[in-house]
C-alpha cells in the first residue's frame, strides 16, 4: 500500500507558519532568512547524498552565487532582486554543468576531494584578487524589487517572505523530482551502479544532471545569503563552509525535502545560542549536539517524525 503523501500539505502549512512567525518575531528574521539560504544549499547536497555522493565543495557554488550578486551591484549597478537571484542560479548551474563533465566520473572520496579542490582553488583565487576585495570581500548593496527597496534593516520582512517562497518552490520541485524516473535513480545508483547501467540508464548522465541541480540550488542559496548578510568574503568558498553544509545535511537526514530547512534552522539556533552563552566553547556545544543526533538518531533529525508516525499508527 502506498503511504499517503502529506509533504505538500506540510509545506503549505510550514510556509504560512513561517510567514506568521516572521511577522511576530521581527528580531529573528535575519536568522530565519539565513537558515533558508543554507537550507537551499543543503537541499541540493541532500540530492547528491541520496545518490551516494558526498560533495565537499558546495561552497564553490555558494560563493559563486554570492559573488555574482555582489558584482552585479558593485560593477553594473543592477539591484533588482529577481535578476540577482537568477544570476546566482545561472552561474551556479553553468559552472556545475562544465565541472560536471569531469565530476561525473568520480565516486566516493575521490568525488569529495575533487569537489573540495575546486572550491579551494576558487578561494585561493578570490583571496588574491584585489579588485574583489581580497580577504576582506566587499559589501553588497541592498537589493530592490520593482524599484522598491527590499532587505536591509527596514525591509527585512520582504526579503524573508521572498526567501520563504523560494524555499517553498524549491522544496516542492525537488519533492516532485524525487518521484520522477530520473529522481528514483538516485537510491538505485547509491545501491548498485552496475545494475543501473544494465537497466539501460546512464549513471554518468544522471549524476551530471544531479550535480547541476545541486549547483543551481547552492548558487541560489549563496545569492540569498549575500543579500541577507550584505557582505561577502572568500570564506564562503573555504572548505569549512562546505563542511558546515555536510554537517547540517547529516543533522537533518535525507528523509524529506523539508528536512534540510529544519536542520538549517536547528543548526543556526544552536550555534547562535551557543555563541551567546558560551562564546569560548561554542564549538563544544555544536559538536556535542551533532554527536547526540548521530548516536540517538542515526538517520537525522527528520527520523523523529517517522518514529512519531509509527507510534501513532500502532
Amino acid at each position: 500500500m502506498k503511504r499517503a503523501d502529506h509533504t505538500l500539505l506540510v509545506l503549505v502549512a510550514a510556509l504560512l507558519a513561517l510567514l506568521v512567525i516572521g511577522l511576530l518575531l521581527p528580531k529573528w528574521l535575519f536568522l530565519f532568512t539565513l537558515s533558508l539560504g543554507k537550507g537551499l544549499v543543503v537541499l541540493g547536497l541532500m540530492l547528491l547524498l541520496r545518490t551516494g555522493l558526498v560533495s565537499f565543495g558546495q561552497g564553490l557554488f555558494y560563493c559563486l552565487g554570492a559573488y555574482a550578486v555582489g558584482s552585479l551591484g558593485q560593477f553594473f549597478g543592477i539591484k533588482d532582486v529577481l535578476l540577482m537571484l537568477l544570476t546566482g542560479v545561472v552561474i551556479g548551474s553553468v559552472i556545475a554543468f562544465l565541472l560536471g563533465f569531469l565530476m561525473a566520473k568520480y565516486r566516493d572520496i575521490f568525488f569529495a576531494m575533487l569537489s573540495l579542490a575546486f572550491s579551494m582553488i576558487l578561494y585561493g583565487l578570490l583571496v588574491r584578487t584585489a579588485a574583489l576585495g581580497s580577504t576582506d570581500g566587499f559589501n553588497v548593496a541592498p537589493p530592490t524589487l520593482f524599484r522598491r527597496p527590499i532587505g536591509g534593516e527596514q525591509h527585512q520582512f520582504a526579503l524573508f517572505a521572498l526567501a520563504c517562497v523560494l524555499a517553498f518552490v524549491a522544496a516542492l520541485v525537488m519533492h516532485a523530482y524525487f518521484e520522477t524516473p530520473l529522481g528514483r535513480l538516485s537510491p538505485a545508483i547509491r545501491d548498485n551502479e552496475i545494475r543501473v547501467e544494465y537497466m539501460g540508464a546512464s549513471v554518468r548522465q544522471a549524476i551530471h544532471v544531479k550535480y547541476v541541480i545541486a549547483g543551481a540550488l547552492a548558487g541560489l542559496g549563496g545569492a540569498l545569503t549575500a543579500m541577507t548578510v550584505g557582505h561577502i568574503d572568500p570564506d564562503l568558498a573555504y572548505w569549512t563552509t562546505s563542511g558546515e553544509f555536510i554537517f547540517v545535511a547529516i543533522l537533518s537526514g535525507t528523509g524529506s525535502v523539508i528536512a534540510p530547512f529544519l536542520g538549517a534552522f536547528v543548526f543556526e539556533i544552536i550555534r547562535t545560542y551557543a555563541y551567546q552563552y558560551s562564546p569560548n566553547t561554542w564549538q563544544l556545544v555544536v559538536g556535542s549536539a551533532l554527536l547526540i543526533v548521530i548516536v540517538f538518531l542515526p538517520a537525522g533529525l527528520w527520523s523523529v517524525f517517522g518514529h512519531l508516525r509509527r507510534r501513532g499508527s500502532s
Binding site: 572520496i109 575521490f110 575533487l114 579542490a117 582553488i121 578561494y123 585561493g124 569549512t240
Partner: protein
C-alpha cells in the same frame, strides 16, 4: 560475517590502529610547530589529500602522496607565494584528472 570474521571487531581494531598512528604523527609534529587546539583541523584535509593523491589502501602511495603534498606546499611558499593557498588542491585536482583513482590505485572491487 559468513566467513567467520567478526566485522565489528575488525572495524574496532582498524580504527584503533588508525587513531594510534594519528596520535604518533601528532606527537612527532608537536616539537616543530606551536601546539594549538585547532591544529587538527588543517590535518584532516591534508590527510585526505595525501590519501587521495597516493591511492586508497596503498602504503607506497601514502608515502609518496605525503612527500608530494609536503614538498609542493613548501615549494609554493618559497617560490610562488601567490598560489600557496591552493597549491595542494591544484596538485590534487591534477593528479585526480589524470589518475582518477590516485597514483597507486589497487585493483577495483565491483559489486554486482
Amino acid at each position: 560475517m559468513a566467513m567467520g570474521i567478526n566485522v565489528s571487531r575488525f572495524y574496532l581494531v582498524t580504527f584503533t590502529i588508525g587513531t594510534m598512528l594519528a596520535a604518533v604523527g601528532g606527537a612527532l609534529t608537536a616539537p616543530t610547530v606551536s601546539v594549538v587546539p585547532g591544529m587538527g583541523v588543517q590535518v584532516i584535509v591534508l590527510a585526505f589529500a595525501v590519501v587521495v593523491v597516493g591511492g586508497l589502501g596503498s602504503l607506497p602511495g601514502a608515502a609518496l602522496g605525503a612527500l608530494i603534498v609536503g614538498l609542493v606546499r613548501s615549494a609554493a611558499v618559497h617560490y610562488l607565494p601567490q598560489v600557496e593557498l591552493f597549491s595542494i588542491y591544484g596538485v590534487m585536482a591534477l593528479v585526480l584528472i589524470f589518475r582518477p583513482k590516485g597514483l597507486f590505485a589497487g585493483p577495483e572491487v565491483r559489486k554486482i
